[in-house]
Structure formats: C-alpha cells, structure tokens
C-alpha cells in the first residue's frame, strides 16, 4: 500500500471518528502548543517535547553507550537536522515520529516514551523492526535516531573513527580549501 494511500486512510479514519475526538480537539491543541513551548524551552527548534522524548526513548532502547551528553543529545542532533531541511514532505517526518510515539496505543499500552525500558525494547523489537506491513513506515525512525546518535563526535570516536585533523591526510599543508570558486562568492545571487 502506498504511503499516500496510508495517509489518506488515516485522514479518512480521523474523519469517521471525528465525533469522538472533535470535542477533545481544544485540549489536544492546548497540549500540543504546551509541548511545543516546553520543547523550545529545552532548546529544540522544531521538535515538541514529547517527540524529543520519543527519540531519546528509542535511542536508549536500541543503541549502545549514551553519547557524552546523554541520549538527549540524539534528539538535539535530530532537531538540528530537521531545522535545516526544506521540503514539502517535511510534515511526513513529524507524522512518522508521532506514529512511533503513539504506536503502543494500538495495543492499549502507554506511549513509547512512557514505556519502561524493557517494555520499550520489546515493543521496538517486535513491532518496529520491520520492512513490511503497517509498521514499516514508523520503523524508518531508526534512521533518524541513528543519524542523531552517530553524528555525535564522542560516538564516532568510540567506534574508532578518526576525524581528518587527526590523520596524516588531514595535515593543514595538504588539506587547504581550494579557492577557484572565489569568483562565485561575488556573483551568485541567492
């Protein structure tokens, strides 16, 4: 089933169930704006607090040692990535993260970030580790989380990666920035 069909079905389901949730809408909107505000207070530029917690929870359950700044760093790095992306498909990422967070509700369990670590691990292993079916799309969140985790220099180093400045190839005499494009600096508009 295509992604658009899924989104369409989701919208349809929302429409059909609107008598149930419509009266709750003001509360949901209030909660969302509060989460956004709390996210901003914690320094997140795009992620509301509950999505940041979701990323941290996923990272804690699936990755090894925490980065130097703890798993919150993963959410921060994901936020840094999302804030730079310009794309009409951007909202899908937010929706995918929301699906991840609320996916345990489908089995009447607390949302992902509120699950105890062992239950969270189990939920991710059993439901969110697949390339097929309903959970294939929220399973893609792993890519965002891995990006946020391995972007941390302390993690790269613990894997054995050495940045350029620590390699012979990276000696300043060899690795100066070439300046042919200096001309472009003056003339490109935008």
């Amino acid at each position: 089933m295509s992604l658009n069909t899924r989104v369409g079905l989701l919208l349809l389901a929302l429409l059909v169930s609107s008598p149930v949730w419509l009266p709750l809408l003001p509360f949901v909107l209030f909660w969302l704006s509060r989460e956004r505000r709390l996210g901003r207070a914690e320094g997140f530029r795009t992620l509301p607090r509950f999505l940041a917690r979701s990323i941290e929870g996923y990272a804690e359950a699936t990755l090894g040692t925490p980065p130097a700044g703890g798993f919150a760093t993963v959410a921060r790095n994901v936020d840094g990535y999302l804030v730079r992306v310009r794309s009409p498909r951007h909202w899908r990422t937010t929706m995918m993260l929301a699906l991840l967070e609320f996916s345990p509700w489908t089995r009447l369990q607390p949302r992902l970030s509120r699950l105890p670590l062992a239950a969270r691990r189990r939920w991710i292993a059993e439901r969110l580790s697949t390339t097929r079916g309903l959970f294939a799309v929220p399973s893609l969140v792993r890519q965002l989380v891995r990006m946020g985790y391995y972007a941390d220099p302390s993690v790269g180093r613990s894997c054995g990666f050495r940045p350029m400045r620590e390699r012979v190839r990276g000696l300043p005499s060899r690795a100066r920035t070439a300046t042919y494009a200096a001309l472009a600096r003056r003339k490109v508009a935008g």
């Binding site: 730079r84 951007h90 390339t131 042919y180």
Partner: protein
C-alpha cells in the same frame, strides 16, 4: 508578484546537465540565466557534520522515497546538483547502451559523443584514482574478488589534488572534487552567466507549442516572478524535470513514464582485524557485469550507520566494529518501469502534497540479479578474509560460510525484503526518441511539439545506462548545447581549475 525578468536562455537546474549547457552557451556569447532551487554552498562552508550537510545539500534532506517508502531516491538540491554529492566516479556509456538508445530513436553519433567525452573529461581531470588515496579496506576486497575468479577494476575519478578524506557524499570541503559547482558553474559565470540560487521553477507557461515564461518562486520568501527567455532548457534531473512537465500540463500521458534506476543496497564484510575503510577515498574498487555492478562504498559513521543492516542492539554491536567493516554496494540497472506522477493528494491537498510521487517495483528478473549481486559480493568478502557478512536483508542472519548463500532466494523475494534499498542514479521520465506519441523529447533535445523548450539531464535517457551516469549526462549535455545554441564546439576547453592548474604547472617548470 514581482516584475518579469528577462534573459536569452533560461536553464532550470545547475547539475550535471544544466551546468554544461550553461557554460557552452555563455562561452559562445549568449546571455544565460540558471535557476537553481537549492542553495549555493561554497566549499569553505562545507563541513564534515553529516546530518547538517545532508539536510542542506540533498533534496528533502535525503528522505525522498518512492510511494511505498521502501526505496530511497537520493538527489542533490544545491548549486551543482547531484554532482556535488558524487564520489566523482566516471564511466563512459557502454557501447551497447549507446546503440540501444539509437534503436530507440535517440541517436548519439559515436564521433560526436567521443569528442564530447574528451572535452568533459579534460575539464573534470578524469583520471585513474591514485593508489595512495585508496582506503586500507580496498586491498582486502581486491584479494577477495581475485580469489573467486573475478578481476576487480579501479575507478576513473574527477578530482584535482584530492586528499582522500572519505566524505565525498556530503560535498568536498577542500574543493578538490571536480563537481559542477567547482568547474562548469564558475566557468559559465566567468563568461557572464547569471546563477540564481534558492529559486524554484514552479510551472512552465506555454501556449501553441511555445513557452512564454517560467513561473518562479523564491524558496526563502515565497515571492514569485516570471522569467522570460527565447529558449528554455530543463535540467532539473530525473524525477524533477518530469514533475515540472506534469505540473505544467506538458505531455501528461508520457512525462514521468519510463523512469529507470541503478538501484542498490550495501553488503558489509566484518574482518578479524581493523581495515579502517574511512581513511581514504570511499570508492576504490569495483566489479561490473551486465546484470549488476559491485562498487566499494566506505562511509563515515553516520552514513555507515544509515546503510548498515541490523535492528536494535545488533546494529549497535556491528557499528562498534566500525573499523573492521568493508562495504560493497550492489547496483542493479532496472528496466524503465518506474513512474513519476502527481497523485490525488497533489490535486486535492496541494499544501501537504506539493510534490510528485515515484512508483517503482523491481521485477522478478531484477530481484534475481540482486540476489546474484549480493551472493557475489558476499563471496568476495568471505574469500577476502571476512568472518561475517551482513546482507541488506530483513531477518537474515550474518553469512559466515559460502554455503549460507544458497539460502538467499528464501530471504530475498522482492524489494520489501531489502533494508536500505535505494538509488542515487534515477534516470528517464522525459525519454528522448523519435516517436512523438511515445517519447517526450525529440532526438534534437527539443520537447516534442515545442519550438523553444529543450531538455538536458538524466531524464532524457530512455533506459538506465547501467553505469554511474554523471559523466554521460555531461557528455550528452555537451551534444545538447551544440544543438540548442546552434554553436560550434571548441576542440579543447581552456577554462576552469584543471586548465589553470595545468598552466600553472607548465609555468613553474
């Protein structure tokens, strides 16, 4: 809306196809304006911060997928287009592909094409990757290929004084990769071409077989204007050029059809000792057969984590052995069965679905080619000394013996079984050919039925060219420039960083 802008030749897109056309036409004295949706990111602004660069340089931040979200389609979104993200690998189009294009009505005369390749190769300094830039994992893979009776090849690359940092896919911060942003674009500007970055062409305004203008929008501000020109060249790349045609109602029954890919996924070999694949060029060795190609692709940590198969803590455990991993990408050239289309969402809820969609599923023969490619990659790595091979398949345990590979048909039935499946080489969607009812573009690069609208990018290819396409897109663009501008091409090109470096070397002697 702001006042109209004017130019003589408007080029949409500054990647492999657009930049070459812009240079030749500007060098011939034409007034050229290039409109590019993405930002201009100078080499000095590039960093080794992978998420930041992926977000800035890739279309959709690297998250463009097909409509079932089981295939990533990577493209550039910056001045220089996808060339900024390449590994600078250069292949000429195989002769049988050239002939097959000819049979399709898209004739590229061999002498003409060879001259174009020579010009492009001299500007890009295409030459064999020196051995001192090889990453240490290369030797293991070469030994492995030889041990299973396959002769490995080495890559021709477009680089000048590369330092082998291994970060090619997020742009070259040292300015050593000879991508379009280092070569054709500044060369075109030196001849007076104007580059308007951060502007998207939203629609082609046309009537009675003539384009009247391009409706453009500034990405940052949303401000709109119309760019009017005598001739218009679409060079937004596969996916994007068909999308623009569809948005503009041009050949809606044909545009977007016949999209093909070199589609791939990566297999990893874990060696008993450190192979430090990150320390050097990412791609040093390959092995190519008609049905599939194997290309080494070592990655820095983030990209490695994104391509390495494995779930949960298994994945983390594999990444902990980062220094012991060597990687081979399996590439399968697909038939042109893909499609770019504007979905229902685009019509009903444009605010949320303001993009085209991609439909693609591998056929049974392509899946079989994938299996053979994976089996060959795994065999080469085991023969080269790997103790475990991680295949990009959901649910398959690590391969530790050659006999394990017999199980592959059970684990790879269709593309949904693949993890990290995708393509950086989309092609077609505005196929060139002489059948006005089947093809979008005529053999003279003109959109069928239009007098002043041309195409010069990978979307022209009637089917996948099998090998990495950048060099061929540029060579075909060289042919296109001659026709579009009615100009005669120089035998040699004296502009650009490579020509400058050659002159400097001669002067120093």
């Amino acid at each position: 809306m702001s006042a109209d802008r004017r130019t003589e030749i408007a080029v949409v897109g500054s990647g492999a196809g657009g930049s070459v056309v812009a240079y030749h036409l500007a060098a011939a004295g034409r007034a050229v304006t290039v409109i590019e949706r993405g930002p201009f990111v100078r080499a000095s602004e590039m960093t080794h911060d992978e998420p930041a660069m992926i977000a800035r340089l890739y279309k959709d931040g690297g998250a463009q997928t097909n409509n079932e979200a089981d295939m990533f389609v990577l493209q550039g979104n910056c001045v220089g287009g996808s060339t900024v993200l390449t590994n600078a690998v250069c292949f000429r189009m195989p002769e049988d592909v050239r002939q097959s294009f000819g049979a399709h009505g898209f004739a590229l005369p061999p002498d003409r094409l060879a001259a174009a390749y020579r010009r492009v190769e001299s500007v890009l300094n295409v030459s064999l990757l020196p051995e001192d830039l090889h990453n240490p994992a290369t030797r293991r893979l070469e030994n492995g290929f030889r041990a299973i009776g396959r002769e490995p090849g080495r890559f021709q690359k477009a680089m000048l004084h590369c330092v082998g940092c291994g970060f090619c896919n997020i742009g070259c911060r040292y300015g050593r990769k000879m991508d379009a942003a280092q070569t054709w674009i500044p060369m075109a500007m030196a001849h007076g071409a104007r580059i308007d970055a951060g502007i998207e062409v939203r629609r082609i305004e046309h009537s009675r077989g003539r384009v009247r203008g391009l409706r453009c929008r500034e990405v940052a501000t949303g401000k709109e204007f119309v760019l009017r020109a005598e001739r218009y060249v679409l060079a937004g790349g596969a996916i994007n050029t068909p999308e623009l045609l569809l948005r503009s109602g041009i050949h809606p029954s044909r545009a977007g059809k016949r999209t093909s890919f070199n589609a791939g996924a990566v297999a990893f070999g874990e060696f008993p000792e450190e192979v430090d694949g990150f320390d050097g060029d990412q791609m040093c060795v390959h092995y190519i057969e008609p049905r599939f190609g194997l290309e080494q692709i070592q990655n820095p940590p983030v990209s490695m984590a994104l391509t390495l198969p494995g779930w949960g803590t298994d994945h983390a455990e594999r990444m902990a052995n980062y220094r012991r991993l060597a990687a081979l990408g399996v590439l399968v050239p697909t038939r042109p069965t893909g499609e770019v289309f504007l979905g229902v969402g685009h019509r009903l809820l444009k605010r949320f679905f303001d993009h085209s969609d991609i439909r693609f599923r591998m056929g049974a023969d392509e899946v079989a080619a994938f299996r053979d490619g994976l089996a060959t990659a795994a065999a080469a790595m085991l023969a080269g000394g790997a103790t475990r091979v991680f295949l990009p398949l959901a649910g398959v345990p690590p391969v530790t013996r050659f006999a394990d590979l017999d199980e592959l048909p059970r684990f790879l039935r269709d593309q949904k079984d693949l993890v990290g499946f995708g393509s950086s080489h989309p092609q077609g969607g505005a196929a060139a050919g002489n059948d006005a009812r089947r093809d979008v573009v005529d053999p003279e690069f003109r959109v069928h039925g239009f007098e002043n609208l041309f195409v010069s990018d990978a979307s022209l290819f009637p089917h996948s060219i099998r090998v990495n396409p950048m060099l061929s897109v540029m060579a075909v663009a060289d042919c296109a420039a001659e026709v579009i501008g009615g100009i005669s091409m120089p035998d040699a090109i004296a502009d650009g960083p490579v020509a400058n470096a050659r002159r400097a070397a001669v002067a120093a002697q």
